[in-house]
Symmetry: C3
Subunit: 326 residues, 3 copies
């Protein structure tokens, strides 16, 4: 049977490489939150938001609902308080705090998070309604809850944001990157987002740490709400680097809006692929001018002109049978 040949040498080199402490999660010193437990607690919280819907969920009954939810909350408390304690202890170590009352503070913080759940549930109900209204392909409120990535992303964002504003290290970003992994929607937990938020399709959406988004905002796939490049002077840690989106704004696929001083006024519409680094008035629609596309056909040296078109198929023609300009 073949054997592992170089174990002692490799092991020695690896142990030397660990000696600087970079990228090692030690139970003495750093004892960072456990990824698996942090995700389990998140799945339980998702189940509290939408009882019976979560990934591993079974439906609940009217009579067992109080027990089920009470049990989930107890589990969340026990599991998450331990991980938040680890995160706080890590934060104390980073900032070299003289005193670190991490276990007591962790319990308080998770109690606060649990106390926010009824309010957060009312918020995510508005998000579900926005998903149903905003997508003509949706068949019911329940289909939105059970399958839409936007709902997974916004619920996880709303929970992560509560820990972010309470300055819990690590866990908010662990949650948001989990959402990013399963939905393709990357919402930094530091962003603020109003009610009735919906992201259609969602893959590739990026919402930066200091974004401020109002109520009834709808985004499509590939929208970036980001920071300007350093040369333009906006990447200082902690400053507002990302845009403000006022109420009732719609931003179509692939649009990019950059900069901490950029404000998209309420009821504005930003067209697909638009690139904006300055503010837009309320009620304004911003679109790219139509590009002068080139239409080429084999055997032609010049681009195709509209006059070259015949009617090749019914679908390509007007009702009266004349050809349609491409």
């Amino acid at each position: 049977m073949p054997t592992i040949a170089n174990l002692p040498t490799t092991l020695e080199a690896l142990l030397a490489s660990y000696a600087d402490g970079i990228g090692v999660n030690r139970s003495a010193g750093h004892d960072l939150p456990n990824s698996r437990v942090v995700r389990t607690a998140l799945e339980r919280l998702f189940d509290v938001m939408f009882p019976g819907f979560s990934y591993s969920g079974h439906p609940v009954t009217d009579s067992n609902l109080p027990y089920h939810i009470g049990d989930q909350l107890n589990h969340v408390f026990l599991e998450l308080a331990k991980e938040v304690e680890r995160a706080l202890r890590y934060g104390c170590e980073q900032r070299q705090c003289p005193v670190c009352d991490a276990d007591k503070r962790a319990a308080e913080l998770v109690n606060e998070l649990i106390g926010e759940l009824p309010r957060l549930r009312e918020m995510v109900k508005t998000d579900v309604q926005a998903g149903f209204s905003g997508d003509p392909a949706s068949a019911s409120i329940d289909e939105v809850v059970i399958s839409y990535p936007s709902i997974r992303a916004i619920v996880i964002y709303r929970l992560a944001h509560e820990l972010y504003v309470r300055k819990v290290p690590l866990i908010p970003r662990m949650w948001s990157e989990y959402a990013h992994s399963i939905t393709g929607i990357d919402i930094n937990p530091g962003a603020t987002i109003g009610s009735s938020f919906f992201v259609d399709h969602g893959t590739g959406v990026v919402i930066g740490e200091t974004c401020a988004i109002g109520d009834h905002v709808q985004l499509y796939q590939g929208v970036t709400l980001g920071a300007l490049a350093p040369a333009q002077g906006q990447t200082i840690r902690g400053e507002k680097r990302h845009p403000t989106i006022e109420d009732h704004v719609v931003i179509y696929a692939g649009a990019t809006i950059l900069g901490g001083e950029t404000v998209i006024g309420h009821h504005a519409t930003i067209g697909g692929n638009v690139w904006l680094t300055s503010s837009v008035e309320p009620y304004t629609k911003v679109v790219l001018p139509k590009a002068d596309l080139l239409f080429l056909q084999p055997g032609r040296k010049r681009p195709l002109s509209p006059e070259d078109f015949r009617c090749p198929a019914k679908a390509l023609c007007d009702a009266d049978g004349t050809r349609v300009k491409p």
Copy 2:
């Protein structure tokens, strides 16, 4: 030991919030399909398409293949009929049907799906072949089957579409959003897609509910086949809102094609980042005109002109050593 402080108050508020029934999956009333079981059945169907290849798969032997597949189909039937029954019962409840023969109808529908599997397998074989031919980085047919996201996405789409056309609520979208989550490719189960379909890379692709796609179509990452915005009058639920793509069309990365009356004629090629809201003739190639990029260098107030270029490295020069225009 720290304790959960606010459980009774929070629980009471949550129970009040559940009272309106929004986002609660109850075993009385709504008893919606179970996400985990629905995914397990899908993985079994994937194993029937490509025996021995599925995520949890082990290879099969010539002698055990009939038993293995027979067993998988039996499991699919038992598991999926129960979930389809739940989905149909939910549909009846939504439409307030006088009679809902959900258990009998569910068994019929899953039998129909199983009956389609040989035809679907022939289709997905053409998709695998298209992936192998369409990607110069592919090393073998088996590599395409075992690793390409396009194959996961199209197999799941083809299965989901069978339940979609049979008007099963919820499950088609649960399957397609699962595929979206693991591949970044978002194909609405309502779309129709011909044989030999391939999506290269795939992340960010969106194919809307009423798309009609022919045979031998190849897409690249970030392509949207979508609907026009409401102001342009095309978002009525149920209408054809998404484009028609005829046979042998190639659509490069980032292109956006919108609208239910937009037809891309057969053998057309749509270039990267092109934005189209009207039809294109067969055999036409549509490209963006080359943008007048600005080339800036430090210490210059004006953009760099081609005359400013020296030959900095062999790779940047023509064979005769003269500089190459950027």
Copy 3:
């Protein structure tokens, strides 16, 4: 109880469809690597790179670290050598080798991979540092390790590349498509990538098989480093089809750089959405000219001009209260 009606007919048709051998992983003939085992080995290797951080990880102690790592390496060897053997045997079958010493060669190759781990760890430490420096939203080195998709993607790429250069079939792409699935970042294992590599956000990034990327390169979401279309003569399997990116280059979101002869000179910056198919000098910044966006408002027939702007909100105005041009 409803029953499966059409099992014998369907089974017969499926067995006939398997007879051509396409898409069947047989223990006789093809016995391809097991996806689950291949992923487990990868998770173990991730744990060796960053002990205690991996998805299922618990922290390690100073005293158990040598045993933990030694044990992980032994597991990797035992599990992965078996799967590499399957992959090599498959490769022999494809190329109809006269002799296939797959078990001995597999052990050698996995020993070589294990021997590279200390060097790879030093590389990925530079990647972590690049992630921390490159993202103003990052709070600590540990946050980058524990949550950033870029780190998952680059570690998996660096491991997959070692098997790619040793010509192991199937497994490099299985690993890279696993990374693609969980991060949205698609790095072909054939690419070469220098130290201190960082991809911010990452969803939609595509890096082709023959890319050559230098040190200290930073990409943003949606960047494609791809091949030109066949018509332009560059898709021959095995040729250099993808660009060269020299040291210290930054490429912003949505930029597309194509072609095997395209070289982006060191210290260049490529702006968002730029489309490039030719080389760029060192130190050059390439940007799109500002598009002439149209600003429309309800009730107007003409586009909005800057003169139409009032100051609707403090955020939209200069400090002196005058309105700001959109």
